[in-house]
């Protein structure tokens, strides 16, 4: 899979300083007793943690090169999430391993190690780790509003600056070995540049088009559809992709938010569907038509056109139907045979169903609404009953993560091949 290129790239970038470390001093000096071993682990944890941290800043860049590396921007964010967590854990254990040697001296020495302002480089490290802990707690445990969380997460750059200062000023293998020094600082500098770009330059330099808000259609109590018309240049997208919208004026925040496209490829206006989840999406309902919007993108690789097999089963959970609506609207030739399962709790939640039914009349697509309140959860068994010959079809999944993973698991149990199941986790940061 294409994703693996990204994993491989990260692994290689981590392995370079990791293996270099083993050649700086003879291993007898590194592992001659338990404490030396612990210290060595601590150093390695620090080095790898810092490399991953740097890479994560680079991964947070919204640029094509990185998207292509892991096949889809959503994968970039998944990576960012995981790499960040691993980096944090390593950096947490970095001082824990190192304190072992102080413990072997005395408890006092070990306690001194954790008390800031005794040693400047160590203090940089402590500040960095402490601030990182706070930000990670905000990310993983406290559900902040997207805006606030995004703002808080920007302080990771500060964490990183302190981590770099720590790495620069502490006497260690990094200060003694010119290769490690250049490598780690080089990567760190790239990370800093990446976050600088993302914070200040991306608005100017990332390719975007200006649209006007044409209308706000309230589809039901929780879901709105925005219709945008281009002022000048139109963006070119594939159905199933998503874009970032940034309102340039009005009562709504000016930060970029991701939205799934629901309009067809050839439609003149651009439509996006959004389920209201927070403050920002609530405010969308009250927007006045005519507001200028910067549209950045498109991103994502989730598209029926990317799959060679034209016999497809599309399975949508709730508002996850959006990319499928775009795909259905874009269907032009009759070569595709598609079954669309549309799972919602109740009939009134099935947005745009009537439009899908219309498309069903003119194109080779079968729309199967599935109401969980009547029939229970959609199961792979039912899918194979309604869509015979499932093993020869490609299956596209979009919806809440638990929904997708449950169905994917059941499909795998039915001996559907892994490579025939496509899904895009739309939980964007």
């Amino acid at each position: 899979m294409r994703k693996k290129i990204g994993i491989l790239a990260i692994l290689i970038l981590v392995l370079i300083p990791f293996s270099r470390w083993f050649f700086i001093e003879p291993l007898d000096y590194r592992f001659f007793n338990f404490i030396a071993t612990m210290t060595s682990f601590g150093q390695l944890a620090g080095i790898v943690g810092l490399v991953l941290f740097s890479l994560n800043l680079i991964l947070s860049l919204r640029v094509k090169v990185i998207e292509n590396l892991v096949y889809g921007l959503n994968n970039v964010y998944n990576f960012h999430h995981k790499v960040g967590a691993i980096s944090f854990v390593l950096l947490l254990f970095h001082p824990l391993f190192l304190v072992c040697s102080y413990l072997s001296v005395s408890l006092k020495a070990a306690a001194d190690f954790f008390i800031p302002f005794q040693n400047i480089p160590i203090t940089y490290g402590s500040i960095s780790l402490l601030l990182m802990t706070v930000l990670i707690i905000l990310t993983f445990y406290i559900k902040l509003k997207y805006n606030n969380w995004k703002f808080s997460h920007k302080f990771m750059v500060l964490v990183f600056v302190f981590a770099l200062l720590h790495a620069v000023y502490i006497t260690s293998d990094i200060s003694r070995d010119i290769f490690l020094r250049v490598y780690l600082l080089g990567l760190g500098l790239m990370g800093l540049m990446a976050s600088f770009y993302q914070a200040f330059l991306s608005k100017l330099l990332n390719r975007h088009a200006i649209y006007n808000l044409k209308s706000v259609n309230i589809l039901n109590s929780r879901v709105v559809e925005l219709e945008l018309e281009p002022r000048g240049r139109k963006i070119k997208f594939f159905p199933g992709q998503f874009i970032f919208l940034r309102f340039l004026s009005g009562s709504i925040g000016s930060e970029a938010h991701p939205f799934s496209i629901s309009s067809g490829m050839s439609d003149n206006s651009l439509q996006v569907v959004i389920k209201s989840l927070g403050d920002y999406t609530d405010k969308l309902k009250n927007l006045q038509p005519g507001l200028p919007v910067a549209v950045e993108g498109p991103y994502g690789k989730f598209c029926h056109l990317n799959i060679l097999n034209k016999n497809q089963v599309w399975i949508a959970g709730g508002v996850g139907v959006t990319p499928f609506i775009s795909m259905a609207r874009s269907l032009t030739d009759d070569s595709y045979h598609i079954d669309l399962y549309y799972c919602v709790n109740k009939p009134e939640e099935a947005i745009l169903l009537s439009e899908l039914k219309e498309i069903e009349l003119s194109k080779k697509i079968r729309v199967i609404p599935w109401y969980t309140c009547d029939k229970g959860y959609l199961e792979a068994r039912s899918i194979s009953e309604f869509s015979p010959g499932l093993e020869n079809k490609d299956i596209l999944l979009c919806g809440p993560a638990p929904f997708m993973f449950a169905i994917r698991k059941q499909l795998l149990n039915l001996n559907i091949k892994r490579k025939n199941i496509h899904f895009e986790n739309f939980k964007l940061l």
Partner: protein, 327 residues
């Protein structure tokens, strides 16, 4: 991921809080016991000082009082020879400002890397410690940590009531005070009344000549002697810290390396700092008559040239140590 982070955070804070609490709240209670147990562990590690309360008594007591206890057994002196025996990473003594420190357990924690210390195990390392091999002194924090590793003063005489085992051979040596590598037992303190045991100890010293045959035996990276300008240096502990890489030294272990040293294998001379550092690893002159034990001590000393951290010295080992420490 979330689980992993939760567990890690929990472990992290549990350890940090535990250490801080134990280290600070119970510090006062621990003060004495820590020192004692630490000294014991030193004695155990180095097998040079008796383990148990006796050594402890020696260390914590006024050193001039040691003669009182000498009738208990043999006497050992922290001579250069003795120090030189502790020249391995796992058993590393340093001589700094005429005080002896056993820093094996600290090596791996050394921010400057174990490699800067290990080549100096068993050696005089004052200058190296004071300059960090260049010109920066160690921090006060480092000084205070060093005190934690204090063993005794140079040529301090310890009384040993233990016999047998490896501690006998090492602990029963009395050698002289000044870094002149003479073998004859010279006591510094008032502990001459113990000369009988001194004599018995010195008889166990085997004569040794620092000739080429002897030097050639030390041809491993873990035990590396160099002959430079007719002087023998034990650079084992320095190898890994060598800015030119350990690989330039290791092939020459046990060999005459004057030219290589003077030219750096090309046409550049080593710096004054390098020369000073080299001096710290001095074992003896070529063909110098010495004893095995003396050499062992020097080797250990040079192997222990580490820069542990020391402080005001108040957390460690007796009043004497405060005096000498800040010089």
């Amino acid at each position: 991921m979330k689980k992993l982070i939760t567990i890690s955070l929990f472990i992290f804070w549990a350890v940090v809080v535990a250490i801080l609490t134990a280290g600070l709240v119970f510090y006062q209670n621990n003060k004495n016991t820590t020192n004692r147990s630490y000294q014991n562990s030193l004695a155990g590690n180095n097998s040079s000082i008796t383990s148990g309360g006796n050594a402890d008594a020696n260390l914590s007591g006024n050193q001039s009082s040691t003669p009182v206890m000498q009738n208990l057994g043999q006497v050992s002196t922290l001579s250069l020879t003795e120090i030189a025996k502790h020249n391995k990473a796992s058993d590393c003594w340093l001589l700094i400002n005429n005080k002896v420190y056993s820093v094996s357990s600290y090596l791996s924690a050394h921010p400057g890397g174990a490699g800067t210390i290990i080549p100096n195990c068993g050696k005089e390392a004052t200058q190296l410690f004071n300059t960090k091999g260049s010109k920066d002194p160690h921090s006060a924090n480092a000084n205070s940590m060093l005190a934690d590793y204090y063993v005794g003063d140079l040529n301090q005489v310890f009384n040993n009531n233990q016999s047998g085992g490896s501690s006998l051979s090492t602990s029963s040596i009395v050698v002289n005070s000044k870094p002149t590598t003479s073998v004859s037992p010279v006591n510094t303190g008032s502990n001459i009344n113990n000369s009988s045991s001194n004599l018995s100890a010195t008889t166990s010293i085997l004569a040794l000549t620092l000739n080429m045959t002897e030097i050639a035996k030390h041809n491993k990276s873990s035990d590396c002697w160099l002959l430079v300008n007719n002087k023998v240096y034990n650079v084992s502990s320095y190898i890994s810290a060598h800015p030119g890489g350990s690989g330039t030294i290791i092939p020459n272990c046990g060999k005459e390396s004057t030219q290589l040293y003077n030219t750096k294998g090309g046409n550049k001379a080593h710096s004054g700092t390098a020369n000073n550092m080299l001096a710290a690893y001095y074992v003896g002159n070529l063909n110098q008559q010495t004893s095995q034990q003396q050499v062992q001590q020097t080797v250990q000393k040079t192997n222990t040239i580490v820069s542990p951290q020391n402080s005001s010295g108040d957390d460690e080992g007796g009043e004497d140590d405060e005096n000498g420490w800040d010089d």
